[in-house]
Amino acid sequence: MAQPYSLPFDSAPALEANDLVKTYPGGRGKPRIRALDGVSFAVESGTIFGLLGPNGAGKSTSIKILSTLSRADSGSATVAGIDVARHPDRVRKAIGFVAQKQVSDPMDTGRENLVLAGRLQGMTAQDARARAVELLKRFSLTEAAHRQVKTYSGGMARKLDVAIGLMHRPQVLFLDEPTTGLDPEARSEMWTELEAMARMEQMTVLLTTHYLEEADRLASRLAIVDHGRVVASGSPEQLKDGLHGDAVFVELAGETDIADALRAISTVVGVSEVIVDGRTIRGRATVGSIALPQLLGALDEAAVPVASATVARPSLDDVYLRHTGHTLSASKENAA
């Protein structure tokens, strides 16, 4: 049984997941795959909440359950105060859903996609057309409004997807990896749009991403998900502060014996959480600028040649590493 969950804020949550468990068939003769293994989090009304984690961590599964597409095996969830299992019909009117895959119809024009989405949400034809014009303008798609979506670039199509989710002014918007697959320029443009959107619409956003930078920039709070569980949550600053210190990286030169290097590093006071990643050794120091010279001195004494050494303020990547035991880039490679 999960522990009683206490909210990290005062107001009623716009979104709450309580000990969600979801399993899928693992194939013939294999045990069921546990996609969610007791996920709990709460999202304050009017904020952007990020679910951060590698592919297969359970981010999309969480979104599918909260958006009523799928049902949890156990646990409960509310969206805009409505129980998703008991009243899916009411939840569906309160949410916008932007799936990981393109949610627009490539055969329809941008405008037709928007109007159709609005009308399916119960808007009158007139309201839907007016709202479509407004959103096309906001996402700089007015010129492409009458073109079929199959002629759009990846960035344009993704912006249209977000606009489709916004048509009926939902209370809660789900964005499942909104920038995955976009080139850096389109991604940065999308971030600007999403920031502006959060300011303009009184809306709660649940965003999943495997880009740390994206979570850091957009989300006011986030939960790190790994193997179907929330391993850490808080604001990006809280999570970074929780690390107590700076990250120190030392890249070793040539054919150095890693064991020698680790032995030398262990003599330096104030360096902890040492992890070897290929030829790079990473550690954590209370004050990096003091620890680094000592570290280099110790390595020099042990005759270990160093290629480069850096100190960095804690990043979400460090938070991620701390809680999951692997870096996000490494788990992405494993997943691929």
């Binding site: 599918k64 958006s67 009523t68 597409l69 799928s70 049902r71 019909d89 569906r92 009117k93 949410i95 859903f97 932007v98 799936a99 990981q100 895959k101 393109q102 949610v103 627009s104 119809d105 490539p106 055969m107 329809d108 037709e112 159709l116 989405a117 009308r119 399916l120 949400q121 119960g122 079929q148 997807d161 489709i164 789900f174």
Partner: protein, 259 residues
């Protein structure tokens, strides 16, 4: 209910827009019935000379309703393809997380497919007429033929949608559609009088919705149709339409359990 009707209308319009935007698809839909009609018409021309053939002296007249139903069957068996495309993208998931009427999603595909069937049926009739076939049943006969073809389309479009939602893959949908539609086609009197086939073929044909549609359409095109047979077969088709539509709507639950 009015919500379901609105959703059906706007979703049907969406499919028709996509159809109109690919002129090649329209051409293909028009050429196909012509090829089938003329090919089969020539190939089996002399079956009318077999003693005991009950379809009259003109094979083309006999064959035309059969080809109409064959087109309706083969076309509607593909109806689920649009669902597969929506599922491959996030479109289906977006519909299902919105208040979109499930029944509306199913019926829109059925109506869209019915429009294609009507176009193809009119082409088949026109080609048959040009090739010399004359139908004594006149306009009422043609309307009943269209109705039979549309009901048959509804049955198999709903079925195809259900398969698409359960199988979720284009290859599986095609395999299942073909395994079912070809036997149904040949276990009917669509291209051959079943009284000349082995007895068991006629027995099976009585339970075959393709046969119901062929009989209703063929009877209605005759000078003095057996109206009782026409209405009985149309009634069977209509009942099956209701069952299939209900089953297909239920298939959304199975799909949502699997995502």
């Amino acid at each position: 209910m009015s919500i379901a009707i609105t959703h059906t209308a706007i979703l049907t319009a969406r499919q028709l827009r996509a159809f109109i935007r690919v002129p090649g698809y329209l051409v293909m839909n028009l050429v196909q019935p012509i090829i089938w009609l003329l090919l089969f018409g020539q190939l089996f021309k002399s079956v009318v000379d077999i003693p005991g053939f009950s379809g009259g002296g003109n094979y083309l007249v006999f064959l035309t309703p059969g080809i109409v139903m064959m087109m309706a069957l083969f076309g509607s068996a593909w109806a689920g393809t649009s669902y597969i495309q929506d599922m491959d993208r996030g479109v289906m998931d977006r519909f299902l997380t919105s208040p979109t009427s499930r029944g509306g999603l199913i019926v829109a595909t059925m109506l869209y497919q019915a429009v294609l069937t009507i176009i193809q049926t009119l082409v088949v009739l026109a080609v048959a007429w040009l090739a010399g076939a004359r139908f004594a049943g006149g306009m009422p006969g043609i309307l009943i033929l269209l109705l039979s073809a549309v009901l048959l389309t509804f049955v198999f479009a709903a079925f195809s949608n259900a398969i698409a939602l359960l199988a979720k893959q284009q290859t599986a949908l095609i395999a299942i559609s073909q395994i079912i539609s070809f036997p149904l086609m040949f276990l009917s009197s669509a291209i051959m009088d079943t009284s000349l086939s082995p007895h068991w073929v006629g027995t099976i044909a009585r339970f075959n919705p393709v046969e119901w549609a062929v009989v209703a359409g063929r009877q209605a095109l005759q000078a003095s149709p057996d109206w009782e047979a026409v209405w009985a077969n149309l009634g069977l088709l209509a009942a099956l339409v209701v069952v299939m539509t209900w089953l297909a709507t239920r298939a959304f639950r199975a799909y949502q359990r699997s995502v």
